[in-house]
Amino acid sequence: MTTETEAPVTESLSFRKVTRRFGALTALAGIDLSLRADAVTAVVGPSGCGKSTLLELVAGLQEPDEGEIVRRPAAYMPQRDLLLPWRDALGNAALALECQGVPRGEARRRAVPLFERFGLAEFERVRPAELSGGMRQRVAFLRTLLQGRPVLLLDEPFGALDAITRADLREWLAGALAEDPRTVLLVTHDVEEAVFLADRIVVLSPRPGRVVADFEVDLPRPRSVTAPAFTELKARALEALR
């Protein structure tokens, strides 16, 4: 039995005994999860544990085989930036609004303040080919924000970047979320990234994905990756992953 409910504003995004299969393969098995509003929930797990499936279920790109998902309007950010090479940075972000029926000129105008707020104003007219990997990912994030939805679904947003750019972008994202809190479901296989960004970490088992650990990250922000409390939490998450 599959049911889908549009949640009233007060109810948060949640999974109830959600199972998803692909043929004989079970990707997710009986996931129970409820997200706290305006907090970052990180889902970590080994490759192939159904993390991306989880996001696509929330985004409405897939339907569960069993169980129920209470969905909230969500903006999905895939691992690859998927910027259109024929549009400049502003046009790429504005695409989010055009998809909602906003005319192009108006969409571009509404994207401008966001570029200014996130320090990308000088890159508005630059085409993706001339942007670095980190900049491209920032533009992709603005495209996600511009959809104006209360929930953000981030699918390994920095997975394709080198370590230095990654650390840089992590701090940038933490800053962006501190300024504009959203309900975030962040999928990653990088435990450090999870501890750095999240308020709560959910660990999934190898396929079929089940929740094997779920704990709060109660560290003050901005976080330092070298703080003892940080490394301790990281060790705990890694232990749960084994």
């Binding site: 696509e56 790109l61 055009e98 998809c99 993706p128 080919a129 959809q147």
Partner: protein
Amino acid sequence: MTRIALAIALLCGFILVWQGIASLDTVDDLTLASPVETWDALREDWSLLMDNARVTLVEVVLGLALSVMAGVLFAVAMHLVRPLRDAAYPLLVGSQAIPIVVLAPLFILAFGYGIGPKLAIVALICFFPITVNLLDGLRSAPPELLKLMRSMGASRLRTLRSVELPSALPSLFSGLKIAATVSVIGAVFAEWAGADEGLGRLVLLGNNQLQTPRVYAGIVILTLMAVGLFALTALAERIAVPWNRKDALQ
């Protein structure tokens, strides 16, 4: 720059070899006109050749335009409607298998000596490369991007306009380049089947009247026409697809 110099050198070499073979005693002047004879014919018959070339060029350009319109319409429709694609694909391939040489006289018989049947034949010969390439191009957008568009709530037409059509442009131009070159051959076939003017007809007449240099002069102009159309298409591609191909979505 070196590329252009090399191309010119190769062309000169080709003309020299051509002249050499044509000057051999064993080669009949009626089968092979030398470059010099061809050049003389070009100069002597210039206005005659140009008048007829204009007719052929109009047939080619209008036929191509017709073909582009029909091709884009068909490819987009087939892309959007899956059953139509499955049903129409064999017909599309069949359109290219039709022996134009056989079909052309029937067209003339049915529709007369006017420009109509010529446009139809040029359009028919160009239709396949344009439609098939565009159809492939429309499918070249990465599936993740289509998924992202769906997650952003994009309508089918929005995805077509913002993602699929722009990503199909390089393929469309590949098809157009092929079409540009075969369109001239189509026009010649059409004129051979029945026409009272045009370069194809002039070449056919020249052949019958043993005016070999004039035939060669006509061939040179027809070739230049095809090369020119190809170059124009390539130029249009550079303007319409300014983003780097290496940076394409794959």
